[in-house]
Amino acid sequence: MTSWRRLSPLIAAGVSLVAACGGGASLSPTVGPPESTAPESAAPTMAPMADICTNPPKAAGTTLTFASYGGAYQEAQRKGWLEPYAALTGVTFQESEDSSNATIKAQVEAGQVTWDIVDVGNDFGLDAQADILEPIDYTMVPKDEILDGFAGTYRVADITYGVVLGYNTEKTAGQVPEGWADFFDTTKFPGKRGFWDYSAGGIFEFALLADGVAPKDLYPLDLPRATTKLDTIKNDIVFWGSGAESQDLLGKGEVAMAMIWNGRAYSAKNIDKKPVAIQWNQQIVTADYFVVPKGTPNKDAAMAFIGWASCKENNAAPSKYIPYGPTNKLATADPSKVAELSVSNINDTTAYFDDTWVVENAQLLEDAYQEWKTR
């Protein structure tokens, strides 16, 4: 029987092996070229903006990879934008349903960009990501028509939505929570509370709104004040990790109220047929954005698509399928959804994220969040 002695040989062997491998550069794997190398695209010919909206450049043979968040959301984008655009131009779309900031970063750093157009959240696409994103080509995108503050150097908003207070009407027994102060009042409204498990998703903002801070005075966030407020309901909080989970928790009544994206509350009510309602007061209106990873071989075709989808004629198309609103000021949303849109319910209690502040202070936010959460 062999006897493996003590541990030291393991470390010694490990060290010498690493040394022998010379960092492993010579041990490159024996795998062929990546399957996803897109064909050299014929750069679409430049067209004036009016043309892009009604007659986008033909680009048969081009394959664009569109990454978003999957589910009903991406289906609405597919039906509203991808399918009509493919029919108009001959572009073929490949889709990914796992948009993630990490993947964009990894692709660009590896020099292997396979995503051409990515739908990202409001915490991405700012100057901090200048190294990994292409600047938006505003010769093709109608910047002036986009809602103020929603068109940046590296990103342009494609869809607006609200982070809202959703409640289960059975659990609140007919009472209507008027805003985040009621959310934090577990005596008046017993039951658990759902929050997105993310430091920059709105949890601090809502705690401060509940504590009486005016929407315009939110930033810079007073983190100690926010965590003190959050402490008052800490043991009643259930954290959710995905939109589907929030929809499930609130629909089933495992939480009486939840911070939730308005589309998810809509689905809980209208698709799952659950007793769920939205309190629009003190909602945060925000957006998802299109970005183009740096180094994509299809940059111009990607910009042309973004330009087309941002036009007033096309921008509201997904709202036929999901209650997320247009970002083009001149676009008209689908009549059946207008009442359910975040932008239709703006009032003087409505708040907005200061994306720049949030991104610049991401580390601070995250540290304070984890410090509070694990305490």
Partner: protein, 300 residues
């Protein structure tokens, strides 16, 4: 295995006299190169990223380590990781030792069944088992539905998102790693020893405590080490069954890398976890032969 002693003894002698390297050794080159490229290189790269990836430019190569230790949350999660690992180890020992003992004294056929009862969960998916616990412990899960329906309670009792939930899940998953090494050692204890003690007039419990227990100790140490070290690296189970207060360091590593793209702090935490794991092994190797710990898995 025992019948081979003579040959083994002979080959052992030959190895001392023969060449330092023989031809069989060449066969190991390919698998070792494979592990080097696809296992060691990744570990080395992670270690390097902890001193090269920074959120903000810095002149200090160990800035990420400074950042890690400056945060109370990180230290709390690290402490919690050790605490949860300790608790799981204690629970596994309390259940595992009697179980191994039972396996050792029952008829071989029953012992075989008891062994299967350990091996089935040992090999079945950790995710499936954690999912099963989730189904049982949820507020709308089996236990709470039962309690609510039978009017024992009015509100669901907190089971999921509690330390208790994590403990149940983790000990169930880790228990085989305790039972197998203890059983392996117990099987090698000659029953004549305890019989002799009994014949000399020792009451059964004294015979157990004075003779059997000390002899089984290597197995206990091996199992304890194995369970503790594996528990340190748990990710799926605390993520699905625990509350934020039960966060373990693996979850922090995953969220740093996946959510925040913060490879600097993520790989720093990885290096710290890896270092602590090795430290535990090094310290343990002063007391037990690691072969006992790993070797018992051969019996599985």
């Amino acid at each position: 295995m025992r019948q081979l002693r003579p040959v083994n003894a002979r080959s052992g002698r030959r190895s001392r006299e023969g060449p330092i390297v023989n031809r069989w050794a060449l066969l190991a080159i390919l698998p070792i190169a494979f592990l080097g490229a696809f296992f060691l290189v990744p570990l080395v790269v992670v270690s390097l990223r902890s001193v090269t990836d920074f959120a903000k430019p810095t002149g200090d190569a160990f800035a990420n380590y400074g950042r890690f230790f400056a945060s109370a949350a990180n230290l709390r999660v690290l402490g919690n990781t050790f605490w949860v690992a300790t608790l799981s180890t204690v629970v596994c020992l309390a259940l595992g030792y009697p179980y191994a003992y039972l396996m050792n004294i029952v008829r071989p056929r029953v012992a075989g069944l008891l062994l299967i009862a350990v091996l089935l969960p040992f090999w079945s998916s950790l995710l499936v088992r954690t999912y099963a616990w989730q189904v049982i412990l949820r507020d709308t899960g089996i236990i709470n539905t039962f309690l609510l329906d039978s009017k024992v309670v009015d509100e669901p009792i907190p089971l999921i998102r509690t330390t208790l939930g994590v403990m149940l899940g983790m000990s169930q998953i880790l228990l085989p790693f305790m039972v197998l090494p203890i059983y392996a050692v117990m099987r090698r204890i000659d029953p004549e020893y305890t019989k002799a003690a009994a014949n000399l007039g020792a009451p059964p419990f004294a015979a157990f405590r004075r003779v059997f227990l000390p002899l089984s100790l290597p197995g206990v140490l091996a199992g304890t080490l194995l369970v503790f070290v594996l528990a340190l690296g748990f990710y799926i189970t605390p993520a699905l069954l625990g509350s934020p207060k039960d966060t373990m360091i693996s979850q922090f590593i995953a969220s740093a890398v996946q959510q925040r793209l913060d490879w600097g702090i993520g790989s720093t935490m990885a290096v710290i976890l890896m270092g602590l794991t090795f430290a535990v092994l090094v310290i343990a190797s002063r007391f037990i032969r690691l072969r006992d710990a790993f070797g018992s898995l051969e019996e599985s």
